[in-house]
Symmetry: C2
Subunit: 207 residues, 2 copies
């Protein structure tokens, strides 16, 4: 019952991506539904035809992030980068570039929403967690690919979680200080940790 013609849900998508952009720029609560209407150039009735409440809009935005992590984030960041460890730091570099391009204003939208919504309804919190888990899973896959260069007993899932932790904490401080200094310091420390982990097994091998 859906249209296979070129514009499948042009209006719906326009609303969705306007909301995505505004939530990332101003936050969820500071974005009014009227803001989204204006940005998407639709009237109230159209918006509420597709999204019965503002929270449904938030859920759709979080689902878009979940589904867009590979094509919108990882593929661009990993283009031309093959080494799995290099890919992890290329991903962190993508966040740095986004911060730099926005004068340390744009950070990780998932992290912002996670801390902004203190008591999110269960489906919202679930989608936030799913987004974090997806990010961690992709980093963990890189670590798995480099498993023979890492210490044998290393908990790679734990290290992937730690990498997300570092990114989120570093982005938070960069936005607060409006400076990349603390971001770079954090990534440098994480990189030093990685180097020490990689050095552990380097001693026996001749690479």
């Amino acid at each position: 019952m859906s249209t296979q013609t070129p514009p499948p849900d042009a209006t719906r998508d326009r609303i969705l991506y306007s909301a995505l952009r505004l939530f990332a720029e101003k936050g969820f609560q500071s974005t009014s539904v009227a803001d989204i209407q204006r940005e998407a150039d639709v009237h109230a009735g159209s918006l509420y035809h597709f999204f019965p409440t503002k929270q449904h809009l938030l859920l759709a935005v979080l689902a878009a992030y979940r589904d867009g992590i590979v094509p919108m984030l990882l593929e661009p960041a990993w283009r031309g980068v093959e080494d799995p460890i290099a890919r992890i730091f290329a991903l962190l570099g993508a966040y740095r570039a986004a911060l730099e391009a926005s004068a340390c204003t744009y950070g990780c939208p998932i992290g912002s929403l996670a801390l902004e919504l203190h008591e999110p309804d269960p489906p919202v919190r679930e989608l936030l967690a799913v987004n974090f888990d997806g990010w961690v899973r992709h980093v963990e896959a890189c670590l798995d690919a480099a498993r023979d260069r890492l210490p044998p007993g290393l908990d790679r899932h734990q290290l992937a979680v730690f990498t997300l932790t570092t990114m989120e904490g570093a982005v938070m401080q960069a936005r607060t200080h409006r400076s990349l200094h603390t971001f770079d310091a954090s990534i440098a420390s994480l990189h030093d940790y990685y180097q020490r982990l990689l050095a552990t097994t380097d001693k026996g091998t001749t690479k």
Copy 2:
């Protein structure tokens, strides 16, 4: 008439700490001035006599955090802990205890506010940054006290920033997952990093 000793600003303090508690529990934007009036048991006119706008209230709360970090956070966390490295992880343990006591709801109020307010007015952002800087300075002092157990060329300020980064990122994930698993994983990784740093200089010594 009830208090014989002149209470300098009993009402003002009651408003201030009601705001502090509510901002930490529900966030800044989700807390209405009416909520604070109710919690502090004052009427609108009294509140606005002391704090001309909601933002002035926020500034006062952030100043209270800045001034309260030693007596309210560090002294309790460090009671009975003398080793400077142990003090750092005791501090992280205090955040873990707060998360555990609140079912992973209460995190770092500064971090929450930092990400909730996307475009904070300059004085607000400044006070957020001051709070971060104070935290880092105290951790850095611990690292300085343990300098002879750390690698010679180590950038201790960078490591202190990285420690805050880890705490903030770990708290964010704990609140999102409503679980301490990712928090513990992050702290464990940070601890492993510290152990590797400490082990570097152990090789030469005979402890």
